[in-house]
């Protein structure tokens, strides 16, 4: 049992994804069709960008509740910069993208400073930031979406043949995150801080700097997700991504990232996000009521969290 729990890691989730598809395909109309698999793939990518950032923070033993608000704030900030109807730099997709990434990094750094230097609990610091950023996004737009985005920016939400353009953005991001975590000193430090911050500090790990970097990277990933979501919807929205938090955390946790810190992989998060997107997609295709969809998704995530708690107990932490 103990071994099985540990084996059911990231590749176990990949197995689950495949088994889920094979098992449900005969019963869910269109689930395994080419267009639908393409949709699933393009739905995974922006969510994966947010989930990768969240994984970094979870690995340090923290949590970033503000990612959804960062997506919204970055979306309207970037749209305001590049919109062709009264933007600061009308038609400049590059400026819009930089503004979105900039908002993400700034908010992430603020979160990191609050957690690392002010020693605020991550839950409280990022909850306050979520409220602030969400309020700022709505106030600055008076709840209005911003359209008229340049065609070169909207192209980021399109596809090149069967492949979504966003793959060109998220794949390098995932590879970079994987290499940092598995091959660099910074990666080892992140795991060490999440495993036991006090021991890491004694061992010479610059805990504050690691936390600051993790939260800043998380903000940047949310900013990048804002680019992809905004391009898909062709609109900057002050409420964009408001409801994705459960999917973000669910994807990471299902993929084996521990809510207690110190354990998790990029590969696991990618498969976790794939599974939660597949569940969402298949239940939609079945035409189940929204309440049923929410209950099923909540149940899957709850099961993953319980599994995580068991693992921690068995690991003696």
């Amino acid at each position: 049992m103990r071994r099985a729990l540990f084996v059911l890691g990231d590749w176990g989730v990949a197995l689950l994804c495949g088994a889920y598809l094979v098992a449900l395909a005969p019963f869910v109309p269109g689930l395994a069709s080419g267009p639908n698999l393409g949709d699933v793939f393009s739905n995974v990518l922006p969510l994966l960008a947010v989930a990768l950032g969240q994984t970094l923070v979870l690995l340090t033993g923290g949590i970033d509740l503000s990612v959804t608000a960062v997506v919204a704030l970055a979306s309207v900030a970037g749209a305001r910069v590049m919109t062709e109807t009264g933007g600061l730099l009308p038609g400049s997709a590059a400026a819009g993208v930089l503004a979105m990434l900039g908002v993400g990094v700034v908010v992430g750094l603020a979160n990191g400073l609050a957690v690392a230097n002010l020693r605020m609990p991550p839950f409280l610091a990022t909850l306050a930031m979520m409220t602030f950023a969400s309020g700022l996004a709505i106030w600055s737009t008076q709840s209005q979406g911003i359209a008229g985005l340049p065609a070169s920016f909207r192209a980021l939400g399109a596809s090149l043949g069967p492949l979504p353009v966003s793959l060109l953005v998220v794949l390098p991001l995932a590879l970079a995150a994987h290499l940092v975590l598995s091959r660099t000193v910074l990666g080892r430090w992140i795991y060490a801080v999440g495993g036991n911050a006090r021991a890491a500090r004694v061992s010479g790990v610059p805990v504050e700097r690691v936390l600051l970097l993790a939260y800043a990277a998380c903000g940047a990933c949310a900013g990048l997700a804002a680019v992809l979501y905004t391009a898909r919807l062709e609109t900057g929205s002050p409420v964009l991504g408001q409801r994705i938090f459960l999917d973000v955390i669910g994807g990471a946790v299902i993929g084996g990232t521990s809510l207690f810190g110190g354990r998790g992989t990029v590969r696991g998060t990618a498969f976790g996000v794939l599974l939660i997107t597949l569940v969402d997609n298949s239940l939609n295709l079945l035409g189940l009521s929204s309440f049923t969809v929410l209950m099923v998704k909540g149940g899957v995530i709850l099961a993953a969290a319980v599994l995580d708690a068991w693992r921690e107990r068995l690991a003696g932490r």
Binding site: F6, V7, S290
Partner: protein
């Protein structure tokens, strides 16, 4: 054991995913009975529940299956849901857009697949994407409702001070209702004088605070129109606080009108505290939406906008109009359930 399992798991996963990738694209959706995808933004108010029930009933009566999806207030999720309808090759799509601008890519996706799409109760912003919008005639219904309130003001024998609770001015429905009020108020300047315009942003707390302030500034306020019935509880609370909550015909009664036709409005009409409300005819809108899809699928011409003329229900016609008022049906179902 652990090591062996770890070696086998990636291989198994790869085989399974490769199988799906190889054979999946060739598996087209199975033809089923005619199906219509219905994507709502939310089901958090009685209006939307009544609307989806009306659509479900209409589809069932025509022999269609309904595939339901609720975006829970998320424009991106709504786009994904519409795309999944397209992938499933439904015969038509009804969508309540979360966002008038953000819905345009979803309409384009349906257009590209040749699937007719109807926007229910909320129009999209102007674009090259083709859709049919079934929307309430907000201006006309609000004007007719306020004209009825004006007639009551005239019957009272004195010029009444009036207030309007305005919704979110970023919402076209809200603007239409405000304009309907203004047109009717301008035409009956002999009977009413507008002394308070209360912004609410569709927020009940703001409505209560604004209404309380208006009653303090104008204790003799005689007529109130709310742009949505869901703010009636706030108005009732403020009127009770000022000791002005009376039935029609009682001394000191504030002439009260609303818009939507929800269950609260029906209860207040029954008890005699609400004089009139403009009703969005959900049953008409549901039928019109499905008919538009059927016509478009059959290649018949469909206008880009279908207006729900709605109707005014008041103390004089409430028994006759109740069967068409969705809020009355909701209230009666609740009462029967209890």
């Amino acid at each position: 054991m652990k090591t062996r399992a770890r070696r086998v798991a990636p291989g198994l996963a790869a085989v399974l995913l490769a199988t799906v990738a190889a054979f999946g694209p060739s598996c087209q959706p199975r033809p089923t009975r005619h199906a219509i995808g219905v994507a709502f933004e939310t089901l958090q108010t009685e209006f939307w529940v009544a609307a989806i029930d009306a659509i479900r009933a209409d589809l069932a009566s025509r022999g269609y299956d309904m595939v339901e999806a609720i975006a829970d207030g998320d424009a991106n999720r709504q786009l994904e849901q519409v795309r999944s309808f397209v992938a499933r090759r439904v015969d038509g799509i009804v969508v309540v857009p979360k966002d008038a601008k953000g819905i345009i890519p979803a309409i384009k996706a349906a257009n590209e697949a040749g699937i007719p799409i109807v926007l229910f109760n909320r129009p999209a912003d102007a674009s090259a994407a083709r859709s049919v919008a079934v929307v309430a005639d907000n201006l006309g219904i609000a004007r007719a409702t306020v004209e009825h309130l004006c007639a009551l003001a005239r019957q009272s024998g004195r010029k009444q001070k009036a207030a309007i609770l305005i919704g979110d001015l970023g919402d076209v429905n809200s603007i239409g209702r405000r304009d309907g009020f203004d047109q009717a108020a301008a035409a009956c300047a002999d009977a009413i004088e507008v002394v308070a315009r209360i912004p609410t942003d569709w927020n009940q707390e703001k409505a209560l605070a604004g209404m309380t302030n208006a009653l303090q500034a104008h204790p003799d306020l005689g007529l109130v129109f709310t742009s949505s019935d869901f703010m009636l509880p706030s108005i009732v609370s403020a009127l009770k606080g000022a000791n002005r909550y009376r039935r029609a015909g009682e001394p000191g009664h504030v002439i009260l009108g609303g818009f939507d036709g929800d269950a609260t409005a029906w209860r207040m009409l029954e008890e005699g505290t609400l004089d009139a409300t403009g009703v969005q005819d959900v049953y008409f809108e549901a039928k019109a939406a499905i008919q538009a899809l059927v016509d478009a699928k059959a290649g018949r011409a469909v206008p880009p906008v279908v207006l729900d003329p709605g109707f005014v229900i008041h103390q004089g016609n409430k028994a006759e109009m109740a069967p068409r008022m969705w809020g009355a049906q909701v209230a009666r179902r609740k009462a029967a359930g209890a």
